[in-house]
């Protein structure tokens, strides 16, 4: 086994190894989309973000327009702060609303944007004013039970 | 003023853990001579060789080699000392993953900055000295025992060492190969102006070849001198060793209880 043959095969090996890594990153993963695009950041305050995670998609009309860049906590207002990183190609009016939605029935949570009507667009670092928190299942259930109990009480009381 | 002895062993004691191997050895290796250290297997001669090679440190006593005390050497000094020595291991110990040429060129490539053509010339020179220049492209697996031993010898002298150590160089060789190695040991020693130490138990091949002999038994030197003097010395162990007698100071029977008693014969003592 002489040197140049070994060098050749090692070169081939490293080349196809790196090729496999590239294949995984581009065709299998989501490297091709988003990471190199220009983005601008806006933040949104929510009463409850539910199960929203960093890197969750930000969608408008069902199309992914950005990602959740960071999730923090406002200790003054006791609210959740989500920083959204939105693709610079898409501009949204200042009165756009952000809602935390669930994909499917029990799937991942994401942020859905509904465009408003304001003439001025959101700029880097500004804040979305209109937000709707995630639906927390326990609150829903207790609400439901409470309203059912109230109905029943009224009916009895009314007799 | 060069020291008359290239290696001096003073009152050397050595033990592997609790197992004592050498007891109070005193010997000198005179410069420029070929010296044999002979004895039975297990008498400690290989251990002695390793101490001279600074691969082992004395438990007590001193080993002075090429002017340095082996016990005082740090790693760099140790490696510097070893570059002035060459060692031929039993069975050759060639590097099996490289050719004969690369084996001999190994030390030159590792320790010198010589350009490749200089290394090539020197390597072929060394191989020519042992008669194997034509085998330069072979792999160690393709060599016979005798050829492998000769390549290892060429490798040991690659950097023109001042001290050459041989660990049982004649083991397992046919008479022709043995004769070749013996001739090479003497020739290379004289042409390089080096000193050689041979550890062996091959009396017939070694005694005619060397200038001085040390006989060892049970970790002690029992006789020393020129081959002629030693043959005449009358020391019983030497007589038995040289003549190959089956019984003498080294008994034939391993110590055992009475023979008749062991066999269960009636009337046993």
């Amino acid at each position: 086994m002489n040197r140049s043959t070994i060098d050749l095969w090692v070169g081939v090996f490293v080349a196809i190894g790196l090729g496999a890594l590239l294949f995984l990153a581009l065709k299998v993963g989501n490297l091709a989309s988003f990471s190199t695009a220009d983005t601008y950041r806006v933040d949104a305050h929510f009463g409850n973000i539910g199960g929203l995670k960093v890197r969750a998609p930000v969608k408008s009309a069902g199309v992914v327009v950005g990602r959740v860049a960071d999730i923090g906590f406002d200790n003054q207002a006791y609210e959740a702060v989500a920083v959204l990183s939105i693709d610079a190609r898409y501009q949204f009016p200042r009165d756009t609303s952000a809602k935390i939605l669930t994909s499917g029935l029990l799937g991942e949570q994401y942020i859905g944007l509904e465009a408003g009507a304001d003439g001025r667009m959101l700029k880097n670092g500004e804040r979305m004013r209109i937000t709707q928190s995630a639906v927390v299942l326990e609150n829903l259930i207790s609400q439901f039970l409470f309203s059912k109990a109230a109905e029943g009480g009224d009916a009895k009381g009314g007799k | 003023m060069a020291d008359p002895a290239i290696a001096q062993i003073e009152d050397l004691t050595f033990a592997y853990g609790r197992q004592p191997v050498l007891h109070g050895i005193d010997l000198d290796i005179p410069r420029g001579k070929v010296v044999a250290v002979m004895g039975q297997s297990g008498c400690g001669k290989t251990t002695l060789l390793r101490i001279i090679a600074a691969a082992l440190l004395p438990t007590r006593g001193r080993a002075r080699v090429l002017g340095r005390l082996t016990g005082e050497l740090d790693r760099d000094a140790l490696y510097a000392l070893r570059r002035r020595m060459g060692m031929l291991f039993q069975f050759g110990a060639l590097f099996t993953d490289m050719t004969v040429f690369d084996n001999v060129a190994f030390q030159m490539r590792e320790h010198t900055d010589l350009p490749e053509d200089a290394i090539r010339d020197l390597t072929l020179l060394k191989l020519e000295a042992v008669g194997l220049r034509g085998a330069a492209a072979l792999m160690p697996g393709e060599l016979s025992g005798g050829m492998a031993r000769r390549v290892a010898l060429a490798r040991a002298i690659a950097l023109d060492p001042e001290l050459i150590l041989y660990d049982e160089p004649f083991t397992g060789l046919d008479p022709i190969a043995m004769g070749v190695i013996a001739r090479l040991v003497r020739q290379l020693n004289d042409s390089l102006g080096a000193t050689s130490v041979i550890v062996t138990h091959d009396v017939a091949e070694t005694l005619p070849l060397v200038d001085y002999v040390y006989f060892m038994a049970d970790g002690r030197v029992v006789a020393q001198g020129t081959p002629a003097a030693v043959r005449r010395s009358g020391v019983p162990f030497v007589e038995q060793f040289v003549s190959g007698a089956t019984d003498g100071p080294v008994p034939f029977h391993y110590p055992a209880p009475g023979y008749r008693a062991d066999l269960g014969l009636a009337g046993a003592a």
Partner: protein
């Protein structure tokens, strides 16, 4: 009873002692890796023997594992009407877990045992002692290149395993069974994240590479210089490496793939 306890205690003590010895050996190895990296030719040779010669077994195994994932995955998913998620299943299983782990296990048995046997034999035939006598540090000249050769080969082999596996899943799922090709790839791309999944898988394979190769060179270097010694060391390499991979996999998975935001 008492004898058994004594033996157990002795085994644990010697195990801990050996671990300490192995750690010191590792530090020494790293400190003397200069030669392996400066004379990169030596390391390239070892990448050939550890990496290139493992290619066949890695590629074939990857293909078969991917195909089995395709079959089993489809069988389970189509019961819940989610057969379009097959791509996601195959890709995530391979990239996060099976790629690094199975490639690591195969590497340990093929390349790891070969490295141990080679170093052990060099020790038994006194080649390492010869080098010492020639004032060449055998750890720097023989052991370090093999270590770095293994560490550099492992991530590439794991990536190749995963890629072949995904291809195998594609073959079975899309070509053979008929799952929709577009859904296969697009759902996979949506679900597999480069940072969280692929990068973590690569990190795992690097960690496994270090563990397996370190165990292999250590066992070879420490092997008793006899025939039984070398064969025992080779067996120990495969067993210890496999256990190490599985244990490290648990630790790394717990660190990487659980936890919240």
């Amino acid at each position: 009873m008492r004898a058994a306890l004594i033996r157990l205690g002795a085994a644990v003590t010697s195990g801990v002692w050996r671990l300490g010895y192995a750690s010191r050996f590792f530090v020494y190895l790293l400190a003397h890796s200069g030669t392996a990296l400066r004379r990169f030719r030596l390391t390239v040779r070892e990448i050939y023997f550890a990496g290139v010669l493992s290619l066949i077994i890695i590629l074939v195994s990857g293909l078969f594992v991917g195909m089995v994932l395709g079959l089993q995955g489809y069988d389970t998913l189509q019961r819940y009407g989610s057969s379009e998620a097959l791509g996601v299943l195959v890709a995530l299983s391979l990239v996060r877990e099976l790629g690094p782990v199975v490639a690591g296990l195969l590497f340990a048995s093929r390349a790891g045992s070969a490295i141990t046997a080679e170093i052990g034999l060099m020790k038994a035939t006194e080649q390492l002692s010869t080098m010492e006598m020639m004032a060449v540090d055998p750890v720097a000249r023989v052991v370090a290149p093999r270590f770095w050769g293994g560490v550099l080969s492992m991530p590439l082999l794991a990536a190749l395993f995963s890629a072949m596996g995904i291809f195998g899943g594609y073959l079975v799922g899309v070509v053979l069974i008929g799952v929709d090709e577009g859904a296969f790839w697009s759902q996979m791309q949506a679900a597999v994240d480069v940072r969280n999944d692929i990068l973590n898988g690569v990190i795992k394979s690097v960690v496994f590479g270090v563990a397996v190769t370190l165990i292999a060179v250590f066992e070879g270097y420490d092997a008793p210089p006899t025939a039984e010694g070398v064969s025992g060391a080779t067996t120990r390499t495969v067993v210890t490496s496999s256990l190490a991979i599985l244990a490290l996999d648990f630790v790394l998975t717990a660190l990487m793939f659980t936890g919240g935001n």
